[in-house]
Amino acid sequence: MLKVNGWSSRWASLLLLCLAVCSLITPAVTVKHENFKTCDQSGFCKRNRAYADTALATSNWASPYSLDAASVKFEKGILTGIVSKKIATTGETVRLPLTVAFYESGTARVTIDEERRQKGDIELRHGSKAKKQRYNEAEKWAVVGGTSVSTGAAASKDAEAGTTKIVYGPASIFEAVIRHAPFGVDFKRDGETQIKFNDQGMLNMEHWRPKVDKPVAEKKEGEEDVAAEADAEDEGTWWDESFGGNTDSKPRGPEAVAMDITFPGYQHVYGVAEHAGPLSLKESRGGDGKYSEPYRLYNSDVFEYEMDSPMTLYGAIPFMQAQKKDSTVGVFWLNAAETWIDVTKSTTAANPLSFGIGSSVTTQTHWISETGLLDVFVFLGPKPQDVIGAYSELTGYTQLPQQFAIAYHQCRWNYVTDDDVKDVDRKFDRYNIPYDVIWLDIEYTEGKKYFTWDPMTFPDPLGMNKQLDEHERKLVAIIDPHIKNEANYPIVEELKSKDLAVHNKDDNIYEGWCWPGSSYWIDCFSPKGREWWKGLFRYDKFKGTAKNVFIWNDMNEPSVFNGPETTMPKDNLHHGHWEHRDLHNINGMTLVNATYEALLARDKSEDKHHVRPFVLTRSFYSGSQRLGAMWTGDNQAAWPHLEASIPMVLSMGVSGFPFAGADVGGFFGNPSKELLTRWYQAGAFYPFFRGHAHIDTRRREPYLAGEPYTQIITQALRLRYSLLPAWYTAFHEASVSGAPIVRPNYYVHPGDEKGFDIDDQLYLGSYGLLAKPVTKEGQEGQDIYLADKEKYFDYFDFWTYEGPGTVTVAAPLETIPLLMQGGHIFPRRDRPRRSSGLMRYDPFTLVVVLGHSGDAEGTLYLDDGESFDFEAGASIHRRFSFVGATSTLMSEDLAAAAAAAPSKKAKDYLKLMEKVRVEKIIIVNAPAAWKGKEEVEISEGLDGESAAARKVTLDWHPKEAGKAAWAVVRDPGVRIGGGWKIGFA
């Protein structure tokens, strides 16, 4: 204890009081920064940031890269040539083969490799068995389509001297102007430059070089370093690097690839998920309110991650979009190694002579990867959907999930016994709360040995699955990539004997620590490994699983408790002798890929229930969207984490992986009841909606919250369930176009500059449903930004708002701020059921929201929600449109083309759905002219069948005190899968 006296003791006690209070306020947990590298601690990042600094600080900086004009060839949409890198100190040049490909989709791709390494003409240190080439297989994992070469792309003859110009894209509105020296590419749309490569001269491909051991000069006291060495590059980070007690042997020495990409005139950039920060990326080179670290992509198990940070998280999508008024462009940096991205913005006075045009902001980005090819795809828009669509065409569309997967998931680490699971299942029914899936974390296994069940706590998994199946509920069980190293565990014995695990730098099996203690890691890069993995999920192999059991892949960054930065050493070796550093960010995706294949394989294709797999992953890369869902990892039961979840989910949406969500309630810690309730209200708008909790937290199943909380939470869950047809349609749209499921303001209103950085409200699909969940404690009102001059109506009571501008919506605890934008029609199913599967034959409600134009439209996609029959056309896809001028509502077939010669499956499905009808049509902001009208006329059989016209009742309700007029068509009885017309006139 401090010795204090007299006046100072008063101060001391004040200080103590302060400390005591502070310690109450300060969250007890924060990320352990010392476990993760800063750019400065990551040699290649430090070198390239320094390189950038030099380039920027040198007024006459000349990038040492040039394209040999003579080497340039353009043939069938592909330009090739040799970029030379001139080494100032020795005068020698390094040959870097360049490929610029132009695809039919309008996407361009620039690839630069290193000739000497292509040929394998290098030596590796430490006798390493690693592959000598630069990693060129990222494409194999990430890219699945959209690479048919453009036939229309052509070299332009009017290229300026020293440049090559290729005209390409739809209607040839795109141009790539390749500058020879220094090498650079400008991408233009309609003659205007949108994206510039190496404009700032930061292109840097660290070529292979042997390590020359310089004699250590004896230094005399007081003597400065020899001046002659000042010119030499600092080799300090070229070779073996250590961090946190682990040494990376770096057998290939320095091999980074880096380049600046400039978006002239673009104020905002989005993407490069996953980070816990705002949707619109912040500048990263210091300054007020800006980051001082680059955005990092190096998939990691970040314990207790922090808010508003460019720090890396569990997954990586190196895809970035830039936004300016009415224009969106993007780049996809296809590299699986550790990557850092600096973002800076500069304001330039456009043309001092032109009046009325103010200054414009240009965003510069600097991409730095540790190894691999320089391989960049360019998307020139102009609409957000054009960019995300082109990216999705390349990396694949979101899997169309089973319907249960988009309903509510109940998870906890852990439900401790099979009886516990059954009890929770019964409790949901007792409290009339819908749910579809219950989850098991690692404790169900016997001693963390995957593919086993603890015989004490889960003696009867099949009985448990059976009970769940009675109400069409599913079980998701966790399977992680680390396999316990323990005797008499057949799985590990097979893994070892078949040599299917990841190897260490000496090419022996790599051993590390994870949940089970000493473990080995399945190498899913290996075809044999995947084949083996596939077999493990067969019902007769993974005993205790049934058809309603699905899989959760966690810890697949991979998380290695005793590894550098909680992951694998970079010099570990994978299949094909690629170093772990080459493919780290893809690693997680390969596991999910193998699991997905395994789930497909366990059901026979002729099986009636050959169902779509469901896999949840924590780690991901571009392309993971094809395989399942992701969640934002181990968040905390704290308001800032609830708040951050919305921009994070939005960011995933515009990154091509929209099936995303955050743990509802917060993983670590115990949420207050208010926080839990608000989190459910927000979670009802996550594409992936799962409540989850850490093993040390108190139970928090919705029925435990008590009133009024349980009731309010149930309302949020039932809202989600009633809107499932809309959600499912949005998922379908994502699965064919890559469109986000929940959408940020800029995506919906790309012409509204004021809304470009809005990331706390979201639109559901194309339905104009605008939600802004409350994410602050005690908040009772919510300001919602309306981008356009359109009418918006409160979802629940039809209170009318009008944009543009900000409106305030009352938001007491029981209310979710949710508006309906005029001009849309959305489908609902209003009958509450125990699970989504039990809603299959329920009738629909259509909500028609009329805005200024008096017209409205919306779509519905529906299929059996589980099988692949939709691929054979077994689906219903309708477009509903209300035309104000004629006062008619129509249902048209969107699948008409496919239905010309419907398959048996398609016909069977329609037959099955024959009785499913529209039970109610609600028209919000119904025309005043309908006053007194009591009937509407229905004509059916628009799809070919004949039926007599009939009349049904219309109830019209006048507007009152701020609320819109509305009308209800009483039981139109029209088939959801049929063509029909309703006349209101």
Binding site: K32, F303, E304, V416, T417, D419, D420, D423, R430, N432, I433, D454, M456, T457, E470, H471, E472, W515, G517, F561, D634, F668, H694, I695, D696, T697, R698, R699, Q711, T714, Q715, R718, L719, S722, Y795, F796, D797, F798, E814, D830, R831, P832, R833, R834, L838, M839, R840, Y841, D842, P843, L912, K915, E919, K920, I922, K963, W966, V968, R970, D971
Partner: protein
Amino acid sequence: MKVAVALIYLEYAAHSLAASPDSGRPRGVSPDFAKFYKDAATFTCISNPSLSLPIARVNDDYCDCPDGSDEPGTAACAHLSPLSPQTTVNGVGAAGSNTTLALPGFYCKNKGHAASYLPFTRVNDGICDYELCCDGSEEWESVGGVKCEDRCQQIGKEWRRLDEQRQKSLGNAGKKRKELVAEAQRLRKEVEDRIQTLGTQIEGGERKVGQLEQELVEVERREKGRVVRGSVPKKAGKLGIVVGLAKQRTEELKEALLRVRGERDASATRLVEVEAILATFKEEYNPNFNDEGVKRAVRAWEDYAARDKGAEADAAHDRDLDALSQSDKQNGLDWEEYEGGDDDESETDVLYAFEAYLPPSVRTWLDAKLRSLRITLIESGILADTSSSSSEGESKAVSDAKTRLSTAQKDLDGHRKDLTTHQEDLDKPFGPDDVFRALKDTCISHPAGEYTYDLCFLSKTTQKPKKGGGSTNMGNYVSLEQIWVDEGAVPADGKGLGTGLRWAMKYEHGQHCWNGPDRSTMVVLGCAEEGEVWRIVEEEKCVYRMEVGTPAVCGEAGLKGKGGRDEL
């Protein structure tokens, strides 16, 4: 609560079913609500009488009435609930409309078994809810081709079989409860008897103590005069030897002290170091990694850190040790002074020495005189009472008297304590008829998962790993309570709490739970023939709930709403 309401309807419905046979009611309508559906032309919404519909709109699978009463046989009004999104279209907020469901549910006749209500949300959802609707009548629309055959004969039969068993078992349980009550009464009587006995014993004891106190005073008075001579040191020579030995031993001890002290200091330094390592470990380990080994270590460290540290390094204590380590001379002890030195005689010795020169008769007289003088002097505080200054010097008579007194005192205290305990015991609640008195300290064992659980009534609950290892206290008995339980109907096998007020025993302050509270257990009691733990749930981290069957709570008056079909 809703369930409770439904259950009341259930009972009500069952009674009226017995009274009125089946008739032409609309689908899903129970006899109790039949009266609302009698009109052949129009239907009036039950809770909204201002709204009338053509009869064709009843059960047309479209919800017209704000209270849902027009759809007793479909799921069309299932969304009318405070659990659903509250919207204008559903009449929420509209003046004068009552949106509470007017009907308790879809009425399943369940011919051959007991009728019941099924929530509307389960009508025509493609699932046969035989638990409530054994006749399968709720899936009348056969959505998706589902067919729910009537299983009431079979289910009813099975139920009646089980019910019979259960009734029998309940009968037995009733008997057992009577036995328990009798046992409890016997035990109570025992306590009361004991209290009476104790009263008498205490009275006697008090008297005895009084006597013995008196006696002791007497003895002491007598003994004070007597001089003990045996304690005088003998020869100076012998003393010298003793002093020599003492000196040597002192030296040895001093050396040992120095050595041990050095060792102690070294260990203390190491301990500080180890504690610092562990404290950092606790700060920096990653709880998310949930490594059992690490968790155990952290837990153990927390327990250790929370424990009494024992004697803190005490400066005064160290100063004493410093002093002890110094040479004796510095401490003012000069062995030489004693080694050959004569011993001085005490004052009384002088007196006795003088006595030796007197003739025996005089001596005896003088002795008596001196003794009484001595007593007088001692009693008036002039002379020190050497006889009582050390127990060794105490005469046997005195110590015997003291022993007698203290034994009697102890007995008395014991009895008094016993009395308090027993009296408190009588005042403690042991439930109705004092029945739990009979259960006190009886235990039931129950294996579940990886543990065996022990419930000792009114004592404690424990958990013991089957794999071996020590048991963990899950709480000590604190109080008896009545709590509301809402578990639906009692299952056919009778092993369930049902719905209603139930007796519960609260156990708290068990072993502390890592990263959680002290363990606690709520033991909720249901009626059963045998004492049996039905279920153990960890409701929250280290908060347990045991559902326990015991005959003690059977047929318990005052606890309404047993639930289950047994009351139909």
